[in-house]
């Protein structure tokens, strides 16, 4: 068991490295930019898979949670707090590393902004609170009330972002600084750091994958699936179903916001379209395409499809393609495309082996 999971980790790491080497060798390192973005988006999809595939709840507002994380990171790290410099607490915050002064890239003036780590922490905290407020009333009820509540939430956030000049209105926020993570690593869109950022994104995504896989294979994961399978029976087994669903929803929302923060630093900016309902529906389609309750499937399929979309493969039909994917998957392969493919491979292998054995038997 242990050696098997070690082998899996090794295989995945080899895959990640091979893709980078292949892309670099082909002289197309710019592919890594879209790959990195696709991997960050896949984190949202994995979190949503926990909620949809395991807890059986749908969120139509994950784009808004992504935007919540991204915009808070962007706003706090670009807004100039210099006006507050004289306040005593400002210097305390500076000493704590929450605020830091830096040079404006364009005119060389002094800026006092929140540091990326502190902004990230604030984004996580805000998402935690917001998701709890939205999830608490709707998850106490049975049924798809969460889908409606999150849909409404997403529409509100989208409109707020579009209508708030301080957040850049329709243009969003640009000029978001690099986020140095320590150990000489930084999340940034500089083309010199492309390879490094590809690995950072993959590492973050794989850590998230590992944590979620652990979770779904534990008593909590079983309890989540039990809630999905029969809420009343789960409740009579001593599972606080309302609280468990809320925990899954909040965890899923926080992951979306974290991905938003990372991608905003990588892209050096974020626009309001991230919060649009179309984006949220796209995440739902990607969870379905990954196989609903299949976390590695969510990561792989979502990264691939998002990469193709970012490369412009689907042209002007981009959103339509994701709608089509949702319809096809739900009607033809509700377990996602990976499981049927796996079954075909098994079937063909069984068939081939069977013929071989039959020949041996005859001889």
């Amino acid at each position: 068991m242990k050696s098997r999971s070690a082998l899996q980790v090794l295989l995945v790491a080899a895959g990640v490295v091979l893709i980078q080497l292949g892309v670099s060798a082909a002289g197309k390192t710019y592919y890594l930019t879209q790959l990195t973005m696709a991997v960050y988006y896949a984190i949202v999809v994995m979190g949503l898979s926990l909620l949809m595939g395991y807890a059986g709840q749908v969120s139509l507002g994950h784009g808004a949670f992504f935007a919540l994380g991204g915009f808070l990171s962007a706003f706090l790290t670009t807004h100039n707090f210099a006006a507050l410099k004289s306040a005593a607490w400002a210097s305390t915050l500076q000493k704590l590393g929450v605020l830091a002064s830096r040079k404006n890239l364009y005119d060389g003036s002094e800026l006092l902004t929140v540091t990326p780590w502190a902004a990230f922490g604030a984004a996580m905290l805000l998402t935690l609170v917001v998701a709890t407020v939205i999830g608490y009333p709707s998850l106490r009820l049975k049924g798809h009330y969460l889908a409606m509540a999150t849909l409404g939430f997403g529409l509100i956030i989208y409109r707020i972002l579009l209508g708030t000049p301080q957040l850049g209105a329709a243009d969003g926020i640009t000029g978001v600084p690099a986020w140095s993570l320590g150990f000489g690593l930084s999340v940034s869109g500089k083309s010199a750091l492309r390879v490094q950022n590809y690995y950072i994104a993959c590492a973050v995504a794989l850590v998230v994958l590992a944590l979620l896989v652990n979770l779904v294979n534990s008593r909590i994961g079983r309890a989540l699936r039990a809630v999905h399978g029969g809420e009343l029976a789960a409740n009579t087994m001593g599972i606080n179903t309302a609280r468990l669903k809320l925990q899954a929803f909040v965890a899923s929302a926080v992951l979306a916001a974290a991905a938003g923060s990372f991608l905003t630093h990588f892209n050096e900016g974020i626009g309001p379209s991230e919060a649009s309902a179309l984006k949220s529906v796209r995440y739902v389609a990607l969870v379905a395409a990954g196989g609903m309750a299949n976390l590695p499937g969510a990561l792989i399929v979502s990264t691939l499809l998002t990469f193709l979309s970012l490369r412009g493969w689907f042209g002007t039909y981009d959103s339509a393609v994701f709608g089509l994917i949702l319809i096809v998957i739900v009607s033809l392969a509700p377990d996602g495309p990976l499981k049927p493919i796996g079954r075909w491979v098994q079937m063909w292998r069984g068939w081939l082996l069977g013929r071989k054995e039959a020949r041996h038997g005859a001889a």
Binding site: L211, L212, N214, L215, S218, R219, I220, G221, R222, A223, R225, A226, H228, G229, G230, L232, A233, A234, N235, T236, M237, G238, I239, N240, T241, Q247, A251
Partner: protein, 258 residues
């Protein structure tokens, strides 16, 4: 001392009175049956005891604690487990996983502990798996551990549901028509199993239509009709009670006029 005490329970659904001032007690260590024709309020009574909904009026005390108005998971935590009339397994999970869910109350690691797989969590998980296996062994279905619960026969599903309920280590076990859908051999096995469960110290309260099973295993019987108590007592007394006979076979007058 009585393990379960119900006092003047009333349940109304709109204009329908499902239960009307029903009081009863279940003594610790005995098997008590609730009987009555369809619509007598037996399942409603079960739902009140396990907290599926709160009673319109009346009180329930379990093991000295007032449980009126508590949620099912809170009542389960106090030591009440139940099965359902139409068997409510988690069909997309394996047989073993179903029983493991029953151990939820006896394990404690939360979201973070499980995601990070702390050493204590791994130990707990192993112990949990083993005790669930033992529980499966107890109902003779250990060889089906890895198959989806949805692929079992109805009789086997009942046994898994029983194993899952027992996995919670309850003080009181509520069985809602445990023999319905079982053949005679399976019903016989069930009778032995229920006695065994009582002998291990678990109090059993059951709703059942199979009168030979009820008369065979019960220490005490509560007979309901249209939401009211007709009588209460040991099997021998119930069998000869004219009111019970009238309810089940109809009164002469009614037959004549009908």
């Amino acid at each position: 001392m009585a393990l379960l005490e119900a006092e003047n329970l009333c349940q109304r659904f709109g204009g329908l009175v499902a239960l009307d001032r029903v009081s009863f007690q279940v003594k610790e260590g005995c098997i008590k049956a609730i009987i009555g024709p369809n619509g007598a309020g037996k399942t409603t009574l079960f739902n009140l005891v396990s907290g599926i909904f709160p009673p319109t009026a009346g009180r329930i005390r379990f093991n000295g604690t007032e449980t009126t108005g508590l949620k099912p998971y809170q009542i389960a935590a106090l030591g009440v487990a139940r099965t359902f009339q139409n068997v409510s397994l988690f069909l997309h999970m394996t047989v073993l996983e179903n029983v493991m869910v029953g151990r939820h109350l006896r394990t404690r690691h939360g979201v973070l502990g499980c995601a990070l797989r702390w050493p204590g969590q791994r130990r707990e998980e192993r112990a949990l798996r083993e005790s669930a296996r033992a529980q499966l062994d107890g109902v003779g279905l250990a060889d089906r551990a890895g198959v989806p619960a949805g692929s079992l026969s109805f009789g086997q599903r009942r046994m898994i549901e029983l194993a899952r309920a027992l996995a919670t280590e309850p003080k009181l076990l509520l069985l809602d028509e445990p023999a319905s859908g079982l053949n005679m051999k399976e019903t016989d096995d069930l009778a032995g199993r229920i006695r065994e469960i009582r002998d291990r110290g678990v109090t059993v309260l059951l709703v059942e239509h199979d009168m030979s099973l009820v008369m065979d295993i019960s220490d005490d019987i509560l007979a309901l009709h249209f939401g009211t108590t007709i009588t209460e007592g040991p099997p021998a007394q119930i069998q000869n009670d004219p009111k019970v006979i009238a309810v089940y076979l109809g009164e002469h007058r009614h037959v004549a006029s009908g």
